[in-house]
Symmetry: C2
Subunit: 204 residues, 2 copies
């Protein structure tokens, strides 16, 4: 099926061009013309591969999740699940050009979703899925004894997502983003680490 | 000085019109023409009161901080400082039209700051000031015994700001924003509450 493969590849190239424009100049710089120029194709080609601009934006946003998932797969998955979670979170922080571009894009999408109901629905679904996956992960970590189990996994997941978003956002405009990493790590550990049992006073 | 007062008031009206447009249609809908129409003045009047569009944006962003400060002043300031902090944080959440507009505006500014160095500087200064004020507050709360003192006030401030931003952002596109409040409250309390002393096993 060379034709289908080619079509998928071409769509990725065009969406990649959109992401570069958003990361460099903001979401308002996106037009069929600017994306075509960045991708090195004609405006007609952009329209052939994406029937609407919204279609193109959604595909591009999905691509940022994929990038993150791919990086996660390269991480050492062994050992303590809280440590692994922290390694995952650092992968989502804007600490190099690629990750910076992804955070800018997600940010721009969220800002736009706030004033466009159809985008809000799309962003909301993404958030809900991420919260669900995070809660499942935390529940597993609770069973393994790597994360406190006196709070619901769902509440902990909401907190972890909020911390991740908040720190990523602040790093975007920070003069030294990496300087915020210790605070991120301390927050997540403080929030999630198993409670120390009040042992040492008699038996249970 | 009626003239000066009038000038200040007119600037606030124009900036208020900009904020309404951003909250309703996004930052890309802002132009001298659209702001003038929303404010019910001429384009020339907008340019008379703000020499550049950037000037107008900055003034408008400062106004959102003022709104928040005004609401904070109306809160009961007595009692436990951790409880008071939680009441302050809820005031920053997008739970009604006014607060929703403010979060949308701050979001749009942050997204834009990511691709405009002059805006980044401005947003960064705002973040740093807020982090400083929050750390001072937390330090006072630590001295009062209302907040844990085994972690640095500065790190706790970073965490509180990140949680606030992250939850506010997620509420923007959430179908039921208020449903996230218990998670916000649980996160902040878990992170900040004084550690229980391991008492009950003999005397100290």
């Amino acid at each position: 099926m060379p034709k289908i493969v080619d079509r998928a590849e071409r769509r990725r190239e065009i969406a990649g061009a959109l992401l570069r424009i958003v990361a460099r100049e903001g979401v308002e710089a996106v037009s069929v013309r600017s994306v075509a120029a960045e991708a090195g194709v004609s405006g007609g080609a952009v329209q052939k591969y994406f029937s609407t601009k919204e279609d193109l934006f959604r595909f591009a946003l999905d691509m940022t999740s994929e990038f993150l998932e791919q990086r996660w797969k390269t991480l050492d998955q062994s050992g303590n699940l809280l440590d692994l979670l922290l390694r995952l979170l650092v992968e989502a922080m804007p600490l190099d050009e690629q990750r910076r571009a992804e955070v800018i894009v997600i940010n721009a999408f969220t800002a736009r979703a706030a004033v466009l109901p159809s985008w809000a629905e799309f962003i909301r679904t993404g958030y809900d899925e991420l919260a669900e996956i995070t809660a499942q992960y935390l529940s597993k970590a609770q069973s393994a004894g790597d994360v406190r189990d006196d709070l619901a996994a769902g509440d902990l997941a909401d907190a972890v997502l909020a911390l991740t978003d908040g720190f990523a956002n602040r790093m975007l405009t920070s003069a030294d983003p990496a300087a915020l990493l210790p605070s991120l790590e301390a927050s997540v550990r403080t929030l999630l680490a198993p409670r120390v049992q009040s042992s040492g006073c008699g038996r249970r």
